[in-house]
Structure formats: structure tokens, C-alpha cells
């Protein structure tokens, strides 16, 4: 007791003292011009990253990013910031690994302290089938050049001692896949880093600007109707995540998307206790401890379609049960805040990226729970796709017509991990 009692923490360095500050200037608030070469609809992480790479990789800067609310205020502001690339299928591994490599240099690229922390991700297995699926994914990852290991329960406990690996819980931990290079980053910082670079390159980031329609000429879109006036454009990229269907309906284009609430939550600030990221699909929980010390957790996707940015509380309760089951020390951590995002989910749990029936409109949607971790990768590939009018090889497999041919990239059953 004496050690604890010896003091108020005044003697120690305050835990929040070392967090980096934001730059003195982030972005302008420009009036929309009447015409742009490229209009990106959606000022979230994907839209901003696309803008950044359009400028950086292709020198295309006559670009507007249109955001109906505040920049990066949708899923970018609401996710649990997990970054990993240990996906099962070659196509998924390629795009997410491309993203992870970019994450590894992003702080320098953006000149922004995005707090990217490669603390590793454990995906727990709780049944024989989980084990098979996990080994399958690890082996596929290794052959694809993605770092991955299969760990037994003892090794799990070594990496993350607070995981309950005892055999007497309802679904004992039978092992885990481990991706050492995976981790977390600070979501706002990432988005703002992209936004700042795009703005500095001369790209207009236009907030409170909701797209209300499109003007078309045959197979081309000629302009965008917005709450801030009509804007003519050469090419259009749709990066609107959960709201993509609303835009596609305006264009009369169908895509197999369903928008669902996805909730997340944080605890209060706690002394470091959780050194890595743990995800479990069977005992549904995924959790990390952010830099200031809060536990950040995600819950399951709510069952029904919803655009409300909130979900049902029984989902949170179940999440808490799973958390305490796997991490008994969390019992008296406190739920501080819950919130919800809108995830656009596809039938095969893989994104839809590429062309649309309009020859100058490019689509990027359907990332479900995987959007944040893909941010730099998809921004890069979308920019490339727009610049060359040809789907980048990493996104080519994710075309809309895979649902017609049957060439799905089914990450559901096989990967056994979402988020």
C-alpha cells in the first residue's frame, strides 16, 4: 500500500505531457469554385487521402473535396483505429499490405505526428475451426509477404498478459494469429494530416457542402449539384462510405451495399495495461489502449440498416460481457462514451472500387469495417485510377462486376475476422 499511497502522482511526469500538438495551420475554408478537374465527394479519410495522392503522385491539384458536414467527421472520426494487413485472400492482402507499407512512412510523408504505433495485433481463436482458419490465414499471409505468426495460448499470454488464457472460460483461447507490424494510429491526426497536405497543394476542401444531384451528358457526369451551388467537373470520385448508396441513387447506379450502424466506445484514461491490439471474433471484442491511456473498443455491427450514427445498447452490453470474459482486469474500467458510425457492407465483405457505368465517375465504397486501415492504400490507388483512367492493379479485383461473374473476394467465412 505504501508505494501506492506515497503519492499523488504529482511527482511523475503527467501522462498527457508528451502527446504531440497539432500544427498551427491545417486548412483554408475556401469558397467553392465553379469548376474543377476532379471533384471528390466525401471529405473523410479516403477522400482526403485520394486528394493528397492526386496532388503528390500525379500533380493534379485542380481538385475539390466536398464534405456535407465537417471534414473527417464520419467513420474517420468514429473508428477504433486498428491497422493491419493480415487478410486471407491475395487481393485483400495486396491492397491492405500496400496500405500498411504506406502507413509505415506516413508520418514523414504528411509531416504530421499521426502516432502510428506498430504494437501488433492478436486475432484470437476459440474453437478448432478458428484454429484452422487462423493457420490458413497465417500461411497465406506469409506466402504473400505479410508478416504473420501463429501463437499458442502461452505465447498469447506472454505478449498480452491480461488476456485470460485459462481453460475454464466458456470459449477458451486456443491460440492467436499475430501480426507484429499491425497497430493503431490517431485517426483525427491522420485525416488532418492528409487534409493539410491537400490544402497546401492547392486543393479546395469544402465543408458543409452536400451533394444533392449530378448533371449528366450521356455516359458522362458534367457536374455536381450541391447545397453550395453547382460545380462543373471533369471527373468525379465517390468516397462517401455509408452514404454511397444515396449518391448512387442520384445517378441511377445500383451497387450491392447495405449501410449499418457500427458502434465503438472508450473508457477513461488508465495506466498502461494493454500493450497490443486484441481481436476476437467468436467472443466478440476488439480492443486496444490508446496513447493517452483509454481503452478503445469496437462492438459488432448492428443488424439492421441505419444512417443514424447510433446503435442499440444491447450490442454494447454484449461487447462488455465479451471484454470482461477475455480481460478480467477490465471489470472496473468504465465506459465513458459510446458512439456509432455508418458502415457500408457488401455481400462478400470486400470493398467495391473502380469504374461505374459513367465513364468519368469512379467508385470507392463497401469497406465495411476495414476502411480506416486501408486509408493511405486506397487513397493512393484511387488517385492512380483517376489519373490514368484505369483501375490500379490493387483495386482491379474489387470491381462492381464481380457480383455478376461470381468472382467474389469472400472475406466472410474464410478470414473469420472482421474489423
Amino acid at each position: 500500500m505504501s508505494e501506492l499511497a506515497s503519492g499523488s502522482s504529482a511527482q511523475r511526469t503527467p501522462p498527457g505531457a508528451h502527446l504531440p500538438e497539432h500544427p498551427d495551420f491545417l486548412w483554408r475554408t475556401p469558397e467553392p469554385r465553379r469548376t474543377y478537374d476532379v471533384v471528390i465527394v466525401g471529405g473523410g479519410g479516403h477522400g482526403l487521402a485520394t486528394a493528397h495522392y492526386l496532388a503528390k503522385n500525379h500533380g493534379i491539384t485542380n481538385v475539390a473535396v466536398l464534405e456535407k458536414g465537417w471534414l473527417a467527421g464520419g467513420n474517420m472520426a468514429r473508428n477504433t483505429t486498428i491497422i493491419r494487413s493480415n487478410y486471407l485472400w491475395d487481393e485483400s492482402a495486396a491492397i491492405y499490405e500496400h496500405a500498411l507499407k504506406l502507413w509505415e512512412g506516413l508520418e514523414d510523408d504528411l509531416g504530421y505526428p499521426i502516432l502510428f504505433s506498430q504494437r501488433g495485433v492478436l486475432n484470437l481463436a476459440h474453437s478448432e475451426q478458428d484454429v484452422r482458419d487462423s493457420v490458413r490465414r497465417v500461411e497465406a499471409n506469409r506466402l504473400n509477404g505479410v508478416d504473420a505468426e501463429w501463437l499458442g495460448p502461452d505465447e498469447v499470454a506472454k505478449l498480452c498478459p491480461i488476456v485470460n488464457v485459462s481453460a475454464d472460460i466458456r470459449y477458451p483461447v486456443q491460440g492467436a494469429t499475430y501480426q507484429p507490424r499491425a497497430g493503431i494510429a490517431k485517426h483525427d491526426y491522420v485525416a488532418w494530416g492528409f487534409a493539410r497536405r491537400a490544402d497546401a497543394a492547392g486543393i479546395d476542401l469544402i465543408q458543409d457542402c452536400e451533394v444533392t444531384g449530378f448533371t449528366t451528358d450521356g455516359d458522362r457526369v458534367t457536374g455536381v449539384r450541391t447545397t453550395r451551388g453547382d460545380i462543373a467537373c471533369g471527373r468525379v470520385a465517390l468516397c462517401a462510405a455509408g452514404h454511397t448508396s444515396v449518391l448512387l441513387d442520384m445517378l441511377g447506379v445500383a451497387a450491392p451495399l447495405q449501410s449499418h450502424p457500427l458502434q465503438a466506445l472508450v473508457s477513461e484514461l488508465l495506466e498502461p495495461v494493454h500493450p497490443t491490439v486484441v481481436m476476437s471474433n467468436a467472443v466478440h471484442v476488439y480492443v486496444s489502449q490508446a496513447h493517452k491511456g483509454e481503452l478503445v473498443m469496437g462492438a459488432g455491427v448492428d443488424s439492421y440498416n441505419g444512417y443514424g450514427q447510433r446503435g442499440a445498447f444491447h450490442v454494447i452490453e454484449r461487447q462488455m460481457a465479451a471484454a470482461v470474459e477475455l480481460f478480467p482486469v477490465f471489470a472496473r474500467a468504465h465506459l465513458l462514451r459510446t458512439w456509432g458510425g455508418i458502415v457500408d457492407v457488401t455481400p462478400d465483405a470486400s470493398p467495391i472500387v473502380g469504374r461505374t457505368p459513367y465513364e468519368n465517375v469512379y467508385l470507392n465504397c463497401g469497406w465495411g469495417t476495414g476502411g480506416f486501415k486501408a486509408t493511405p492504400g486506397i487513397g493512393w490507388c484511387m488517385a492512380d485510377t483517376i489519373a490514368h483512367d484505369e483501375p490500379h492493379p490493387h483495386v482491379a479485383p474489387f470491381s462492381l462486376d464481380r457480383f455478376t461473374t461470381g468472382a467474389l473476394v469472400d472475406e466472410h467465412g474464410a478470414a473469420a475476422v472482421a474489423h
Partner: protein, 930 residues
């Protein structure tokens, strides 16, 4: 310090507690905060970024600063000292922004209770009490919740209601409520979230305040899940601080909180008091503190003090400096407690007023959290200088201060809900307040969010950086994201941002309130769903026998299934090899009761099955059994199993264990939503029937011995037939179904008789060495025959053709679910993955399941990534029959590649393996008839 004649604590008894390693005493009824202040402890902790001293800034859950770690009786992080009720032996310490989790599991119990009420009233202040009483008098079922230990809300006891002291009024209402059997009145219960359709969640603290006396049987906390026809939000208001330089010191309190500490706990939080206000309510604090012995000065932002209060102040010799502002403070060395207020007078002159308590009131923020949780919009009210409920919501009433009604008479009137309201005797009329959010001064020492150390300078930086929305400023500065979630800082942040942006606050708006209102322990939300209660456990009728036989169990969905039955000294491999050999050479018995069983009845039963199975079921003869595969519309296999035709209009559909519930739902969905014209009914009979496959060349002996009436000859009882018989009057259905390739009889019996029939089978098989076997052996035996397990050898991307089951896909039927997908481009790709056998060429290595298959690497090393993959190993076992390990794998174009040798990377090695047919044992099928 404690003053006599004040407070509702029990000063006849003393409690000992420890804070930051020092021992103190307090009294029952104290909070940790009141006891510390009574002991002269003002510094509680330090701030998270700057390490500045932090004290108590408010008397209840809106406190932004007084965070403590409780260490005993059990560690709990980040609690507000103001809400921790004092108990004997409490050990706590102040925090510097982070709490500490216990290193051991919490053994306290947490649970839930459900309520369905006509009216839910949140808040037992004057408005809430009356609202609850009115509802009770109407005969409604009522729940009244209040987060404090005692009812009464902000009533201090000095008010008079209907001619009597306000505490007596409270006691009267509470007593009346207690006479209504349909009223649930819960104190220490915080409504923390409101959801759709009148659903409110509340957390009740049930034992912490009882200390060591708490009964072990009582749950520590309980989550009340309340479904209310009508919700009355009577949650009061939070007093609003004013931002000035160095406004973060210990000893700077909200004025009403200083008054609350006096009346509730008998604690005078300072002797030399400066009250800084632009609002009438703070005068009550000034007067009461002066009456309790403090020397008080009022700094009034308005040019004139309200007449009533000016008189009351004058009567007590309280100086009132009108038109004046507190612009800054000075602090004492050591604990940093405020030592002086720097006042700017109406004439601009600067005065330094020594003080040890600076009581501040910038007006009131309605506590509208619950209102806005379900997107109730808040509107800016310029008279309040704050946001309040801005629309009418169905089923929701907001009354009293939560609605922006700040006078007691108004609260009583709104609470009375149409009944005659009690009178608020002698209450002075409120006069308009001055809306003061911030006093000009050095931005970097003006704290907006004292817990996050976020200042006006931070907001200015955010604005300078281009931030234009309240949400961006919040994120840039972190204001409002701390433990208190901006209860007192939110409006200030909006106001100051608006000021710096030069826009009206109503245009900027405020950030969103989200549940929970106050933090809730994870364990409380988990409730009882932990450990073995995390998910239901399903066991078969024979579970006790399996346990007694020493079975090692496997979780299959919610089921516990015996995986193998080790004998002394056996590991799994040895046990499974023994069990496999016993089945192939003699006879084994399995508890297959977990298989899903669906009773399909009705005139159109056969029509339904023809539509959902890939093969034909309608031409199955009564008395016969047929294997079938089901696909989704996408043509991918979702389940398989056998179908028994019991009658023209009746079938038993057997599903996989994992697919039982899913397939029943699947069939119901089609029948109800797509084909309501079909006359067919479905019922699960999984639990009703126990199933014991008796398997092996000697199985016929066992069956014929036990069921003497049954002609078990191949001619009379052929493969894929079923027959009914009985055993001592118990009906038994026997089916010749084989999931091993061996002669096999599946014995089906009412689960009630399962243990007896099982024992009789064992007895009948004893001389044949009948061997119980588990799921692992079952898996090996079926794999040796190339029978897939749906969900193990398939993953939602596999068609019947991929499994080599084109024979089970009808070409005659014009349609069935999934058929159309088989003709898509992707389905005709010759490089689709197909189920094949895989034999490690060394005949020794058991390849781990999940391993990937790659082309043979002639130089013995993998090429650089990415290495193209051919497929993966879905099943892998040691085979007693083959005397070597083998595997099943899904391999691209696999059936065309039989005989090819491929590589399987295992660890750092490359294991060569030959692609074979998926059927490795008895490919001619000679064994199934015995």
C-alpha cells in the same frame, strides 16, 4: 472545515479512511470529497498534461477535477471524490489523469433488472418528485430514479414549500410514493442512457456505501433496463463556471456546490470567500456561507445587484462589488489552493481580494443529456446562455431546471403536471442574469476544460488553424473528451469558439451528448453473462455418461461434444488411432445427438425439399434415406445431411450440428416469405431425438442382438433405408446411414430414453469390443472416405461440384436454390478449387490443417513473395487404416492434377505431397454392407 448546526451527516459516528497515505476521519453520509474538505485537504490530484494541482470544483457528478483512485476495498480507477460515499477503511489516492486497473479479477456480482412502466421520472428533485407523485396518483406504474443517496435534488433545506421546510416536503412526497405499490423509487441510481421507444438504462449502486456490512449475496451494482411509456426528464441543471486566468486552482468551486457542501455535509469549504457571479442563485450561497461564519465578498458582473439579494447581503455585511469581474487568481505555494481573486472593478481598477474559496456562478446549463441521446435537438437559449431542449419529443417531458426553468416555483409548477403546484414560499423573483462565459485575460492561463488542461489559447490555436466547427475545435483541443465529457465545459467551449470565430453561438451549436451520462463499469454492463454464463452450454442426454467415461470435450457451437475418450496414458493421437481401428475392425458407437433434425410435414413437403436441396427428394421412397446438399442462391454449399422419408407427406431432415438452427430458419424464411402457398410445416426435433451411430463391420451383430425383431440382413434392411422397431416398448428408429464407409446403423430414440438405450447398446456390443468414439475419430473416418464437413472443408466459396458432388446436383429439376449461379462465368472456371486428397510423400508428416498448398519448388526453396497459392489443407489426420497421415485439401483444378506432387510450407520446411482422389479408404465402397 466542519461547521456545527449544518449538514445531514451522522456526526455521532466516525469513519476512518486513508487518502494519499494519510489517515483521516469523516462521518456516515460524507462523500470522500466532503470528508477531505472537512479535513482541510483541497488538492486532490494533478492535471493530465501540465501537472497543475487539481481540487474539488463541484459537489456532485459534474465535478471536472476531483478524480481519485480507490485502492480498498477493491481497486477502482477514476472515480470522483464527490460521488464516492465514505465508508470505514476506505483507501484512496488522488490521480494525475490516469487510473489503475486491479491486477486481479473482480469477484463482485453485477446483475440486471427489467422494468416496464407507464411513467419513468428521472431526478427526485422538486420537479421530479411531483411528477412521480402525479403519475402515481393517476394509478400509473412509475419508476422514480435519482442518482444521489437521498432525494430532494438541489433543495438545501433552507427553502419553504407549502409553508413547511423543504426537507419535510420531500419526506412527505417520498412517504406518499411509498404507499403506492406500483411505484419503484430508487436512489443511488443514475439514468445513464436513453434509447428508442422509451428505453432507459440506469445504474444502481447497491453495496459500496455499506462498506464491510454489505451482504455478500447482494449484487454490487445493478443495471435497470426500463421501458417507459412516458419519460419525465427532471435532471436539473449544472452550474456553469466562468473562464478567467488561473481558474483551475483547488479552492475554486461552483457557488451552488459550495452551498451544497455546507447544507449536506456541514462543510464550509473556505473562511474567506469570494463569490463571483452574474446570476442570482449565487447570492443564496453567499448568504448561507456568511451565516455559517465565512467572510464573504460578492463580485457581481452585472451593473446592479438584484434588489432582494443586495438587501440580504447588506444585512450580513457582505460587500457586493457590482460591475466587477474576477480576471484571475493567485495561489498558495504547496497545495496550490486559491489565495486571492484578482478583480477588475467597474472603473477598470484592479483589486486583489484575499480568499481561500472562490465560488463561481456563470449561470446554468440544463442537464439535457438524456433528452439528446436519441437525437433530441437542443436549442440555444440566450436568456440562459446555454442550450436546452429545443423540440417536443413523443413520450418525453422535460421539466424544471432541465428545461431551463430555474426558479423553484416554476420547477414545482412544471413537476406538478397539471395538479395544483405547491407554493414556493418567500422565494425571491429571479432577475435576468449576465451571460459571462469568459473574462478577458491571458489566453494560455484561461482553462476551458480543466481536466484536459485545455485553454482559451488552445481554442484560439484551433481557430487559427482553420477549425470552424465545434467538433473540430473539440478534437483539436480535446475539450469535452475527458472523464466529465464536458458537463461543465461544453457550453463554454462553444461560446468561446463562437467568440473567437466571430459568429453567434447559435450558429456554431454544440457537440453531441452521447451515452453514458456518467461512466459505467464494464462489469456492470456485462452483468451475469460471464464465465460459463457467457453463452448457453448445450449438452446431450448422455452428457453425464460422457463425463463419467472421461471424455475430452470440444465446443461445437454451443454444444459440448466428446472429442475422444482417452484411456490412461493415451494422448489424443493414440486415443483416436485406437478408436478408428476399433471402428474399422470391429464396432464403435458415437453420440450423434447434436445433429440437427427437422420434422417436415405437409402436402407439399416434397416440393419444398426439391426446391432447397440440389438433388431430387420427391422421388425418395417411404422407408428410404437420401443424402442431400443445400446451397445458397449464390450456389455455395451451406449445409448437407440426410433426409428420411417417413410418409408421403413427412420427412426428417438431418442437418449438421452447427447448421441446425440456421437451416430451420432458412427453410422457414423461404416457406413464409417466398412460398406461402406451400402446405408444409417445420419443427425442430433436434432435442427430442437422441442418435447413436453404431458403426463397423460388427455393428450388425450388435443391432441384431439388441433388436431381435429387426431383420438386419442386407436384403431386408439395405443401405440408406430406415426401419422402426422397439426396445422394451420404447420406439426406436434405425437407419442405415454411414458417415465412415463402414456398415453402420444409426439408432434414433426419444432423448428421454437415451441413457438406457445407450447402455443397452454397449452391453449388446460388449463381446464385440464396442468402443465409444468421439468427434475426432468421426472426422478421421469420414475424411478417409472423402466426405466433407461443411464449414471445415468448405468456407462459403465452395460449390457441390467443387466437392466432387456433381452427382448430388439434379439435372432434371428445372430449378432449385443456387442452380442459376452454377452457370456463371466463375463457376465454369477449370481452375476452381476442388476437394482432393493429399498424401505427404514421406508417409510420416501430418500436415497442419490450414496449411497452404503451392507448386512444387524444384530447388527446395520458396520463391520470393508473393508466392502463388494453389489452395489449402482443410482436414488432416493420421489414419489407422492407411497407416500414414493424410489430408484433404481444396486445390485449384485439383481433380485434373491427381498424381502431381506439390509443396506444403510447414514452418520453415516444404513438405512434398501427392494429390490424390479424395477417397482414400475403400474407394469401391465394399465395406458399407458389411
Amino acid at each position: 472545515m466542519r461547521v456545527d448546526g449544518y449538514g445531514r451527516i451522522d456526526r455521532s459516528r466516525t469513519l476512518g479512511f486513508t487518502f494519499d497515505g494519510r489517515s483521516y476521519t469523516g462521518h456516515p453520509g460524507d462523500t470522500l470529497a466532503s470528508a477531505l474538505l472537512a479535513n482541510g485537504v483541497h488538492r486532490i490530484g494533478s492535471s493530465v498534461t501540465l501537472g497543475r494541482p487539481r481540487g474539488i470544483s463541484a459537489a456532485w457528478s459534474e465535478d471536472a477535477t476531483g478524480l481519485v483512485q480507490v485502492e480498498e476495498p477493491f481497486p477502482e480507477p477514476m472515480l470522483l471524490a464527490t460521488t464516492v460515499e465514505l465508508v470505514d477503511g476506505l483507501v484512496a489516492r488522488g490521480l494525475g489523469g490516469q487510473g489503475r486497473l486491479a491486477e486481479v479479477a473482480d469477484t463482485a456480482r453485477y446483475d440486471r433488472m427489467h422494468h416496464h412502466v407507464d411513467t419513468l421520472v428521472v431526478g427526485a428533485g422538486p420537479a421530479g418528485l411531483l411528477a412521480a407523485r402525479a403519475a402515481a396518483r393517476r394509478g400509473e406504474r412509475v419508476a422514480l430514479l435519482d442518482d444521489r443517496p437521498e432525494p430532494g435534488g438541489s433543495l438545501t433545506g433552507t427553502e419553504r414549500i407549502d409553508g413547511r421546510p423543504s426537507r419535510e416536503f420531500v419526506a412527505d412526497v417520498v412517504a406518499e410514493l411509498a404507499t403506492h405499490p406500483e411505484v419503484a423509487h430508487l436512489q443511488r441510481t443514475t439514468a445513464f442512457g436513453r434509447y428508442d421507444d422509451g428505453f432507459v438504462l440506469a445504474l444502481q449502486h447497491r453495496t459500496d456505501h455499506l462498506g464491510a456490512d454489505a451482504p455478500r449475496t447482494l449484487s454490487r451494482q445493478r443495471v435497470h433496463r426500463i421501458r417507459a411509456g412516458r419519460t419525465v426528464i427532471a435532471t436539473g441543471a449544472h452550474e456553469r463556471p466562468i473562464v478567467f486566468a488561473d481558474n483551475d486552482r483547488p479552492g475554486i468551486l461552483l457557488a451552488a456546490s459550495a452551498r451544497d457542501l455546507l447544507h449536506r455535509y456541514g462543510v464550509l469549504a473556505g473562511r474567506e470567500v469570494v463569490v463571483f457571479t452574474g446570476d442570482d442563485a449565487a447570492y443564496a450561497a453567499a448568504v448561507d456561507l456568511a451565516d455559517a461564519g465565512a467572510a464573504v465578498t460578492v463580485v457581481e458582473a452585472r451593473p446592479q445587484a438584484p434588489a432582494h439579494w443586495a438587501g440580504a447581503a447588506a444585512d450580513r455585511g457582505i460587500p457586493v462589488l457590482t460591475g466587477s469581474l474576477v480576471a484571475g487568481t493567485e495561489g498558495a505555494p504547496g497545495d496550490g489552493r486559491v489565495s486571492a481573486a484578482v478583480v477588475t472593478g467597474a472603473d477598470g481598477a484592479r483589486t486583489v481580494l484575499g480568499c481561500d474559496l472562490l465560488a463561481v456562478s456563470g449561470g446554468w446549463n440544463p442537464t439535457a443529456h438524456l433528452f439528446s441521446h436519441v437525437r433530441g435537438t437542443l436549442a440555444y437559449d440566450p436568456a440562459l446562455g446555454a442550450f436546452r431542449p429545443g423540440e417536443d419529443l413523443d413520450g418525453v417531458a422535460v421539466v424544471g431546471a432541465a428545461n431551463g426553468t430555474l426558479d423553484l416555483a416554476g420547477c414545482l409548477r412544471e413537476g406538478a403536471s397539471g395538479e395544483r403546484p405547491p407554493s414556493a414560499d418567500g422565494e425571491p423573483e429571479r432577475t435576468p442574469g449576465a451571460i459571462v462565459w469568459r473574462v478577458e485575460g491571458p489566453h494560455d492561463r484561461q482553462f476551458v476544460d480543466v481536466q484536459r488542461d485545455a485553454t482559451v489559447a488552445d481554442i484560439a490555436r484551433a481557430v487559427g488553424a482553420g477549425m470552424r466547427s465545434a467538433e473540430h475545435v473539440k478534437r483539436y483541443t480535446t475539450i469535452g473528451t475527458a472523464h466529465d465529457q464536458g458537463k461543465t465545459s461544453g457550453v463554454l467551449a462553444s461560446a468561446i469558439t463562437a467568440e473567437l470565430l466571430g459568429v453567434p453561438i447559435e450558429d456554431l451549436g454544440t457537440t453531441t451528448f452521447r451515452p453514458p451520462y456518467t461512466p459505467v463499469a464494464f462489469a456492470a454492463l456485462a452483468g451475469r453473462e460471464r464465465g460459463q454464463l457467457f453463452d448457453p452450454v448445450r449438452t446431450t442426454a448422455l452428457h453425464a455418461w460422457h463425463v463419467g467415461a472421461g471424455a475430452v470435450f470440444e465446443d461445437v457451437g454451443q454444444w459440448k461434444r466428446p472429442r475422444y475418450y482417452p484411456r490412461p496414458g493415451e494422448d489424443m493421437e493414440a486415443a483416436v488411432l485406437r478408436e478408428c481401428a476399433a471402428v474399422r475392425d470391429g464396432v464403435g458407437i458415437l453420440d450423434g445427438s447434436t445433429l440437427g433434425k427437422i420434422d417436415v410435414q405437409g402436402r407439399d413437403a416434397a416440393v419444398l425439399l426439391d426446391r432447397v436441396y440440389t438433388n431430387m427428394m420427391s422421388n425418395l421412397a417411404v422407408g428410404r434415406v437420401r443424402y442431400g446438399v443445400m446451397c445458397g442462391p449464390d450456389g455455395m454449399v451451406i449445409d448437407d445431411g440426410t433426409v428420411l422419408r417417413l410418409a408421403e407427406d413427412r420427412f426428417t431432415v438431418i442437418t449438421t450440428t452447427g447448421g441446425a438452427a440456421k437451416i430451420l430458419d432458412w427453410l422457414e424464411e423461404w416457406v413464409q416469405t417466398e412460398w406461402p402457398d406451400l402446405r408444409v410445416h417445420l419443427a425442430s426435433v433436434t432435442e427430442q431425438w437422441a442418435v447413436f451411430p453404431v458403426v463397423g463391420p460388427r455393428s450388425r451383430h450388435v443391432i441384431s442382438r439388441l433388436f431381435a425383431d429387426l431383420d438386419v440382413s442386407n436384403d431386408a434392411f439395405g443401405f440408406m433405408c430406415w426401419r422402426d422397431t422397439e426396445l422394451d416398448g420404447v420406439p426406436v428408429r434405425v437407419a442405415r446411414i454411414s458417415f465412415s464407409g463402414e456398415l453402420a446403423y444409426e439408432v434414433n430414440v426419444n432423448a428421454w430414453y437415451a441413457p438406457a438405450v445407450w447402455e443397452r447398446l454397449l452391453a449388446a456390443g460388449e463381446k464385440h469390443g464396442i468402443t465409444p468414439y468421439g468427434t475426432e475419430t468421426m472426422h478421421v473416418l469420414r475424411a478417409e472416405k472423402g466426405y466433407p464437413i461443411i464449414g471445415q472443408d468448405t468456407d462459403g466459396t465452395v460449390t457441390p461440384h467443387d466437392l466432387g458432388m456433381a452427382w448430388a446436383v439434379s439435372k432434371k429439376k428445372s430449378d432449385f436454390i443456387g442452380k442459376r449461379s452454377f452457370s456463371r462465368a466463375e463457376n465454369t472456371d477449370p481452375l476452381r478449387k476442388q476437394l482432393v486428397g493429399l498424401l505427404p510423400t514421406d508417409a510420416r508428416t501430418k500436415i497442419p490443417e490450414g496449411s497452404q498448398v503451392v507448386e512444387f519448388c524444384p530447388d527446395g526453396a520458396l520463391p520470393a513473395p508473393p508466392v502463388p497459392m494453389l489452395g489449402h489443407v482443410t482436414s488432416s489426420y493420421r489414419s489407422a487404416a492407411l497407416g500414414r497421415p493424410f489430408a484433404l485439401a481444396l486445390v485449384k483444378g485439383g481433380r485434373q492434377r491427381v498424381g502431381d506432387v506439390v509443396h506444403v510450407p510447414v514452418g520453415d520446411a516444404l513438405v512434398p505431397a501427392e494429390i490424390t482422389s479424395s477417397v482414400l479408404v475403400d474407394p469401391e465402397g465394399n465395406r458399407r454392407d458389411g
